[in-house]
Symmetry: C2
Subunit: 225 residues, 2 copies
Amino acid sequence: MLVRVNSNKTAKPVPSQLSELARQDAFWSELKIRGGSKLFGEAEPADYIYQIREGAVRTYKQLSDGRRQIGAFHLAGDVLAIENCATHRCTAEAIVDTTVWFAKRRRLFARLTKGDIPAANHVRDLVTRTLEHAESHLLVLGRQNSLEKVAAFLLELDRRLEQPDVMVLPMTRRDIADYLGTTLETVSRALSSLQEERILSLVGTNHRGIMLHDRSRLAQRATSV
Amino acid sequence: MLVRVNSNKTAKPVPSQLSELARQDAFWSELKIRGGSKLFGEAEPADYIYQIREGAVRTYKQLSDGRRQIGAFHLAGDVLAIENCATHRCTAEAIVDTTVWFAKRRRLFARLTKGDIPAANHVRDLVTRTLEHAESHLLVLGRQNSLEKVAAFLLELDRRLEQPDVMVLPMTRRDIADYLGTTLETVSRALSSLQEERILSLVGTNHRGIMLHDRSRLAQRATSV
DNA sequence: CGACTCCTTGACAGCGTTCAACAGTAGTGG
DNA sequence: CCACTACTGTTGAACGCTGTCAAGGAGTCG
């Protein structure tokens, strides 16, 4: 299922969180994985770092009885597994067919030990941003009701996808639910309710497309009942 | 309320997460704050980093209507605000009377730009550990019920406090509730229920003391209903 | 003593989960 | 082309966990 290629052809421009490193093609190799297949598993040795080129990835932790908490969705340009741990702390799965670049973690950290200050700052910056996201996520999970959760999710994705008219969700309702600490039925009801209020329209097959009509009213829903 | 002193007397040994830096007394100044008073506020400029010497601190985010999510409790030895952001992303308050050391963030980061590799690794390590904690916390908040939450909280604090017999909580039930995304009544009920099961005993004024009788049964409660 | 904070417990309601049925779409194979 | 299956999403109904409201006890402090 995994195809390894050399990335000597230049890919189409993708926003990158590792701009300076990303420019060095020799540093990265390319990998294509099918939707639903694993990129890496929790507690596995973390030998590589990854950068999404196209597609989407979910990272999650799981309890022994199957309950799943998705920590983040990763889209084109995002970097995964940058934090310096010997083993991965969560599982990463492609949500749809996805292209990633990967590089030996050792090669990156060799730079740091050689005193590459810009690279060190960059890495610290990425970890900090990941932390920032997690901390905001804590507030949503611990203190917001289901409608606020779904509204917050939509606003986050709207900001990140930057698609002016219709945003097409790569993930299922269950994924959204596991991201927000609720159930797929509750997510579906919240979306229907927002459609009822004419704040958005669900379009396309499986209602994966979402047209936002009123972002400011959606933002109100995200912080008050 | 704030007292600034030079820390030329050696403090009693405290586990430190910033060992090499902590040894340099000239680097740090000492600060004593009363329980309930703020160390720094959300969105304030982040000019200092802090290290708890004695006492306990809570860091939290708050919604406009007052709902509060505590991201972490910080105990003796813990470092706060190490992540490189221009402004603090949460509020930090002393829970009880607390002694902290603080240092100009600029002085630490000046080292990093000068290529102090061990310091850079150390900082990255601290941020990563903070991230690790937040990610585990996400799972608790999103996917565990109230009994599991309280059990997980007790196990975490038991591990960190390292008091063999009775652990004395510095925080109120409300603090615990705001840490676990629930209410103080629910926390109280969970603790009573665990006492009923003879897994622990509540002791002392305000039942702030907790004697764990059966850590393994408590651990069972933390992951299954 | 009185005011205050913190904790516990009970009663009740409500939000969200659970269970179930159904619709729409895609893929497969006869 | 159609039957069949699998997957996804929506909606309804009932239950239950947890939040809300309230009362009371215990300790602290001025």
